[in-house]
Symmetry: C2
Subunit: 260 residues, 2 copies
Amino acid sequence: MSHYEAYLIDLDGTMYRGGKRVEGAAEFVKYLETKQLPFMFLTNNSSKTAIQVADKSNDLGIPARKEQIMTSSMAAAIYISLQQGPSKVHIIGEQGLVDAMVQEGHEVVDDHPDVVIIGIDHNISYEKLTKACLHVRNGASFISTNGDRSIPTERGMVPGNGALTSVISVSTGIEPVFIGKPESIIMEQALARIGYDKKQVLMIGDNYHTDISAGINAGMDTLMVETGVSSFQEIKNYHRQPTYKYKNLMDWMNEKKQKG
Amino acid sequence: MSHYEAYLIDLDGTMYRGGKRVEGAAEFVKYLETKQLPFMFLTNNSSKTAIQVADKSNDLGIPARKEQIMTSSMAAAIYISLQQGPSKVHIIGEQGLVDAMVQEGHEVVDDHPDVVIIGIDHNISYEKLTKACLHVRNGASFISTNGDRSIPTERGMVPGNGALTSVISVSTGIEPVFIGKPESIIMEQALARIGYDKKQVLMIGDNYHTDISAGINAGMDTLMVETGVSSFQEIKNYHRQPTYKYKNLMDWMNEKKQKG
């Protein structure tokens, strides 16, 4: 696999799980650094800023600079710029989404938005959903950071942003543009930022339905690890398979060493 | 139309709209009373108790006793009894839903419910949705008072209970049983209560997609008025038409008078 020029890497389930580092994650990233191979972390999590994500990663011993982070919020902010330039955006979401919009030069507004964007919001309310529906019905573009139906937590699977988004799409009858994995939009932003063609870049992740599908949808080679959501057993009959499958990134490192 | 033995009548959009009585509504109900024709009001609104609904109706000059009200919450409570007897129910919803469950003899619980039921809740929160998702994933039956995607208000179309319900169904992948119009469940409860066969009862309402479809789905004759949500123009190419169409119930009264 050393023929890839650059790497896009999922975080949750691939580098860490909850507050714990995944086996081989730190070694793999340090290997990339030693070889001076460019890499970027891609997360569907819209609630955290790039700095917050990098801090968490560093705290867990996985070296990451904020320039190496792309969240679905950042990809959404860039997408809006490309589509319609600096815009008035009405936000349902948390700090990471607000910061991404402001940093990209968009104006956060309550009324008369050009765009309604929704990301995970643990303080979701009927009034927030109502306002979003009214704006979308009045013609604002409708964007959702990601379509994740549920999020694994210690309590079990809890509602993800895709589930919250459905309130607006079901009520208005208007479907949003989704930005995050498995959509190609976040992948294209990341490839543009890292500066390599998709054929030269490997996408690494644990979740078949987001990470691996995103890579396949974007025309990239993919490496699936079994350290998070999806299992090889579960995906064995799927038509579209990852290019590579390794139990974890330590196995990949070991195989590399054996091959010399 | 005098050959019908009993009448099921929608409230919002048919008897009143917001705080205003619809033309012909009071006269029509008084005519039924004079002729001693039994009638019952059916509402998808799950948030109000039967007494609250009857009070509003009476305040607007439309005579209604609480025994003549069936809300989607009441129909849901009866449905649960018929399906599985007295049950432990976990509720997302407002006073009308809680009261209906308690009056039917169900126990309202926070944990380990037999049933999760959702009705419109203006204090919806991420924690409420999370708990409901966890219970449904753990095997609780999943019931929704009604599938209304949006509710007309002075501000515009705002999210209905069907839109809120989608958070749980999208997140868990499990579809609920819907109780209210256009489903047959609320109709069967109402017919059982009023004590006539469906062929002897006329369903009256303004909303094609709830009231009229409910009547048609239940095998009843239907009368559509144009005083609320749906227009005759909008439905003119639909395959399934209402049995009768009148601009409002005053027109129906006038035609009756002319015919003597």
